[in-house]
Symmetry: none
Subunit: 413 residues, 2 copies
């Protein structure tokens, strides 16, 4: 690819979980269709729209796979462990032989039956809880590191000889019906996997003992809050190769997000993560701060990914009205960015999502996501508003995420 | 496939580099959209249109890959060396163990710094220069053949034992900034590759000595023209299997073109290359000659590929007006063919391109190319004019080149 300076800058707005289905309460429109989005509609009129399947039609993906695809990674080159992504989100990069896991702080009873998979979505003093787990003694040759990531989540890293990521999760992924913390098992007969599973089970046991008498939890119990008295782990993974998107494209690229997984993936893909404590990856995220950081990033980088989590949260919470309102807020931020942008080269805009989170499902679906590209010389189409059904008639047609990303970078380089 | 006589003949018009982007100077239309093309528009009204990605959306390809796809070759079955294609373009087919390279005649100074990668786009007496290089002595067991192809380009063939195509280019692909002719290196530790690289470096050195005192170059220097005093090589390749499109389809097929690469690929694909010196593969090509050869070919063959290079040249030269005018000339030739066609079976028409060459880029892009098929029984759509954005709404949808070619042959056989 060309190494000459790009003739434009690019803002790529990613609305997490944006795609939805028609909802009766919204007049049989999706939240995006029902939302008043004058800025995005004006942009789409000078853009080319389409529908994107992250992997393939009807295939559900998580935020991790969705963002891997949006960051230009080759999904056929899997698997990608969620643990190393979570660790990378807070800057903890794996060395050779390391194993990282993602975990939740959870509330369990005495026999490890799960009462709350997220310990009341604990946010306060999670760093103190993590600090009490770093350095747990599990044999002389393995180091345990524990760092907080987003809200009730953290990353656990094992460092030492003869470790393997071929182990199962202790997180049963659902609470209720008497589900317990699962024993971690090796996924193969590899002695390193057997050893790693044993070490992790010891970590889970010791963590429960430490957390149960931790001052943070004693305080929570006094206040009637569920104690974060257990860690439930998932997504074990080791270090692996990622495509360096910045080097590969010859562009300097940043990613503005409040979510550690997204920030971690950005870092792994050679994209500079930019965040601030006010970016909560939630409906209440401070969009003004995101706006300021994004405008600043557009001065310093050729391309900026702006990740907004709100639509996904509202989808999981089955709140179509809130989803619509968050999309409207996003549209206002887009308007502010267009007004505030003052670089000497044109701004190329891309809009997309990592997956659909229909309110009726309260989880991700395999529906394609609406996308568009707007810039000085794109082949415009007849689409005049940003919506799932409008984009189905767009000039991009229905394409895969990797093809959409290739198209975007073909315009930029 | 059927071996019965086809119920129609087919003309496939390939406009090289046809696809473009909206251009302000053309009223935000592409050259194809801006061009007055009554014949193609009349055809597309009884046709089915679409957008074609040669490999995949956003993926840039060269004329070679584009034509391989249009000629029904399986691109996943790569790599295809450019050297053997160039050689095939002038009828030089490789035997087992041969290695062919494409080369430019270039102008270099005493220390092999490149002054002009194309030696002033030399066209005259290139055959004499090539003749002086054929038979260069490089060891007792290797034969060197050198043939002119298009303008300043030629093909170099090595024939002998223990040769390998696993060698790098001596062409740095760009001139300027003191770039020199690169030493050719083996791409592997294979002894045949090491030997071939050494032989080629010797060829490059000896060619420089011979060409520097060649009468053609002494004459050029007297006339103030840059001497063609070096060969810069690229695209080493050996013989390989190609799908025989004619045998595979049961049709007799010809290809009318002025470009040696296209003619070479046609020959490799079992398609009869038809050319004439007046076909220059340039904006000034004699379209009347192309018309006569094409009409004659339609009498003798079931199917004729008509390759027109002008749109691509105008795109590379950033001349939207010239690109539009060349497309209009093409349309007139299409009209003449329709008038001149007098075979007893209907004429099925296909229109396409090998890639996009947007004027704003001056190089190939990954934009899809507009295509259509017109014939008595295709499933017509609502598209009424031949253009990039009009075809986005076509009945073929957005498909890959291999799928378009399969569709075309499905109609013909």
């Amino acid at each position: 690819m060309s190494n000459s300076r790009p003739k434009s800058k690019c803002l790529f707005v990613i609305q997490d979980g944006l795609g939805d289905r028609p909802i009766a309460a919204l007049g049989n429109r999706t939240p995006l269709e029902a939302a008043h989005t004058p800025n995005m509609d004006r942009l789409i009129r000078r853009g080319v729209a389409g529908l994107v399947d992250i992997v393939a039609p009807g295939v559900r993906v998580g935020t991790d796979i969705g963002h891997l695809a949006l960051l230009g990674q080759d999904l056929s080159n899997g698997p990608y462990g969620r643990g190393p992504m979570e660790a990378a989100g807070v800057g903890m990069m794996l060395g050779h032989g390391d194993v990282a896991l993602r975990f939740n702080f959870a509330t369990v009873d005495r026999d490890l039956t799960i009462i709350d998979r997220r310990a009341g979505r604990i946010r306060e003093r999670v760093d103190e809880l993590c600090a009490s787990l770093s350095g747990i003694s599990v044999g002389s040759d393995v180091e345990v590191l524990c760092v907080p990531t987003t809200e009730h989540r953290g990353a656990l890293l094992l460092r030492g000889p003869n470790l393997s990521a071929e182990v199962t999760d202790s997180d049963p992924n659902r609470a209720g019906e008497g589900r317990k913390v699962l024993p971690i098992r090796p996924r193969s007969t590899n002695p390193a996997a057997v050893r790693t599973a044993a070490i992790l089970n010891e970590v889970v046991q010791k963590a429960h003992a430490i957390l149960s008498r931790h001052p943070v939890n004693l305080d929570r119990e006094r206040r009637g809050l569920p104690p974060a008295n257990a860690v439930i782990t998932r997504g074990a993974g080791g270090p692996r190769e990622y495509l360096n998107l910045a080097k590969n494209s010859g562009l300097s690229i940043a990613c503005v997000s409040g979510e550690s997984t997204v920030l971690g993936l950005a870092r792994l893909a050679g994209v500079t993560p930019l965040t601030a404590p006010q970016m909560t990856a939630n409906l209440g995220t401070d969009l003004e701060v995101k706006l300021a950081v994004t405008l600043n990033a557009l001065r310093r980088y050729d391309m900026v990914y702006l990740h907004l989590k709100g639509a996904d949260i509202a989808g999981h919470d089955q709140q179509p009205e809130l989803k619509k309102e968050f999309i409207e807020k996003t549209d206002r931020i887009v308007g502010e960015i267009l007004r505030g942008y003052s670089e000497p080269v044109p701004l190329f805009l891309a809009f997309g999502a990592d997956h659909s989170t229909p309110c009726e499902l309260a989880e991700h679906s395999g529906d394609p996501v609406p996308v568009f590209l707007a810039g000085p010389s794109v082949r415009t189409d007849s689409v005049t508003s940003y919506g799932e059904r409008a984009c189905a008639a767009g000039g991009l047609g229905r394409i895969r995420c990797k093809d959409f990303i290739a198209t975007l970078f073909d315009y930029l380089t």
